[in-house]
């Protein structure tokens, strides 16, 4: 029996794993001490729990526990990494390199740094959404202090050549930050092997609670220093003050442990479901296009454009399935997805895109249900589409003079 609506938006957020919730519960009502309280057992108990979670989080990154700084989430981690490095290293240089399809938490932070006098290079991506390591090498100048390239993209799931970029940054003596929010638990990560100096992650994308994230900050070779963005009691090695949310941290740690232990099995399963979905839809519907890289992508992500059908219109038809669209209509702006635009996907196809994000709790029954529903609705909407009709009549849509509004 399928429970509706089906949740297939796991690149947006995930259901908290019941095992995670169970681990958290005692820290609300029984073990509620402040981890910074050094004078009593409640505090020691909370501190021990935080330190255990720090180990669990470090473990999934190949880092040491001391290198994990807790934040409210990846947006804060990205802000802290970029602004923290900019503030601390501005005497050394004022140039930062990033790329066009980063999350807004990186792009908008870069925009602010530009207003504050920094220079930012936004590298373009290829049609699959990848940056080539040579682009990074060529962009580095003697003023460059930081390179920030995401590990995996949230909309299209494209993986970046992180290891090669990390190597270049090491050679050039430039710090390397990666937003790995989407990649944690889906691809093996190792900050040493990948040459990563700073890494953002968050709990709620890996079946943990919302409201807790972390920034990995390398402690040696080199020791990365950050200008704190929140001042206060000097928690988290002075880089991020504020009382630690112990229950959330415990849940974050548990989520990382589960993700690491079950990664191989889970990746195989979500990949198989993703392929079942992708093939099911694309083999039954002509003129559908997979956005992003065909192979170098997150296992559970399928971002598909359905020609002649508008994304939000389609989402209304498949409202029993929770997904996202790159259509402008889903946001306050009139522009379609800037990520798809950066890949050179035309605006028309960007408006027609749906992001499916398969996760831990999806089943093949759900996938089959979604395939049937999507095929039926796309066919219905195409029958209702003037664009589809024009193409059937042999007209070239690109040659029509549209009344732009």
């Amino acid at each position: 029996m399928i429970k509706l609506p089906i949740y297939m938006d796991n690149n947006s957020t995930t259901r908290c794993d019941p095992r995670v919730v169970e681990a958290m519960l005692p820290y609300f009502t029984e073990k509620y001490g402040n981890a910074a309280s050094r004078s009593h057992a409640y505090g020691w108990e909370a501190e021990a729990a935080v330190e255990e979670a720090r180990e669990q989080i470090a473990d999934i990154l190949g880092a040491s526990a001391k290198e994990i700084i807790f934040t409210s989430g990846a947006t804060e981690s990205n802000n802290l990494a970029l602004k923290g490095v900019a503030g601390m290293y501005k005497k050394k240089g004022t140039h930062i390199i990033t790329q066009a399809t980063e999350h807004k938490a990186v792009l908008d932070t870069c925009k602010r740094l530009e207003r504050d006098g920094f220079q930012v290079t936004y590298l373009p991506v290829d049609k699959y959404g990848q940056v080539h390591p040579d682009q990074v090498r060529d962009a580095i100048t003697d003023k460059t202090i930081l390179v920030s390239i995401m590990t995996a993209n949230n909309e299209i799931g494209t993986l970046q050549p992180i290891q090669a970029i990390g190597k270049i940054c090491k050679e050039k003596g430039v710090l390397f930050h990666t937003d790995a929010v989407q990649a944690v638990g889906k691809i093996p990560l190792d900050v040493e092997a990948m040459g990563i100096d700073l890494l953002s992650l968050t709990a709620h994308k890996i079946y943990g609670p919302k409201g807790i994230g972390a920034l990995y900050v390398r402690k040696k070779d080199p020791r990365v220093r950050l200008e704190p963005q929140i001042d206060g009691g000097g928690h988290e090695r002075g880089m991020r003050s504020g009382t630690l949310p112990v229950p959330l941290i415990v849940g974050f740690g548990k989520a990382c442990t589960i993700a690491k232990v079950e990664m191989a099995e889970e990746v195989a399963r979500t990949f198989a479901l993703r392929e079942r979905l992708r093939e099911g839809i694309m083999s039954r519907l002509p003129e559908t296009y997979l956005n992003g890289h065909p192979t170098e992508r997150l296992p559970g992500n399928a971002n598909i454009s359905f020609a002649y059908v508008e994304g939000e219109g389609l989402m209304m038809g498949i409202k029993d399935v929770a997904v996202s669209s790159g259509s402008a209509c889903t946001s306050a702006s009139l522009e379609p997805s800037y990520v798809l635009r950066a890949l050179g996907v035309g605006d028309e196809l960007a408006h027609s895109s749906i992001r499916f994000g398969i996760g831990r709790f999806n089943t093949h029954e759900e996938v089959d249900y979604v395939v049937d529903l999507v095929v039926r609705e796309v066919n219905r909407l195409r029958e209702m589409s003037p664009l589809y009709e024009m193409v059937q009549q042999g007209l070239d849509l690109k040659k029509i003079e549209w009344a732009h509004h």
């Binding site: 508008e310 259509s327 306050a332 605006d347 028309e348 029958e383 209702m384 549209w402 009344a403 509004h405």
Partner: protein, 140 residues
């Protein structure tokens, strides 16, 4: 964003989906919007040449649910109206009837534009037909 019952009703059971022969002299066709902008409406009216009344209307729309609902509603309203009455349909009436949220007002504007474009196309055809020789078929 929650949708009104009326939007959902039109989306799930759109009225008057389809096309007339655009070369029919009694048919007016309006095509507005652009694929890059995320919505395109094609709205057609068929006018009784004796009475000047819109006897039938059809639409096809590429767009969100609100755009589909706006054009579906427009075809319902057009039937039985004179050209003057049709020209008086305002987007604000569509907004009110469908309870469109502010971010979807542009869908109603597009529907009004489509109505006006269809009326204009019909009137242009009529004028062209009047100018043409009565022995020859009307230009389309």
């Amino acid at each position: 964003m929650p949708y009104s019952e009326k939007i959902l009703e039109h989306y799930n059971n759109p009225r008057n989906v389809g096309s007339f022969d655009a070369s029919d002299p009694n048919v007016g066709t309006g095509l507005v919007g652009a694929p890059e902008c995320g919505d395109v409406m094609k709205l057609q009216i068929r006018v009784n040449p004796q009475t000047g009344i819109i006897e039938d209307a059809k639409f096809k729309t590429f767009g969100c649910g609100s755009a589909i609902a706006s054009s579906s509603l427009a075809t319902e309203w057009l039937k039985g109206k004179t050209l003057e009455e049709a020209a008086a349909i305002k987007n604000t009436e569509i907004v009110e009837e469908l309870a469109l949220p502010p971010v979807k007002v542009h869908c109603s504007v597009l529907a009004e534009d489509a109505i006006k474009a269809a009326l204009k196309n019909y009137q242009e055809k009529q004028q062209a037909a009047e100018k043409a020789s009565p022995c020859e078929p009307a230009a389309v």
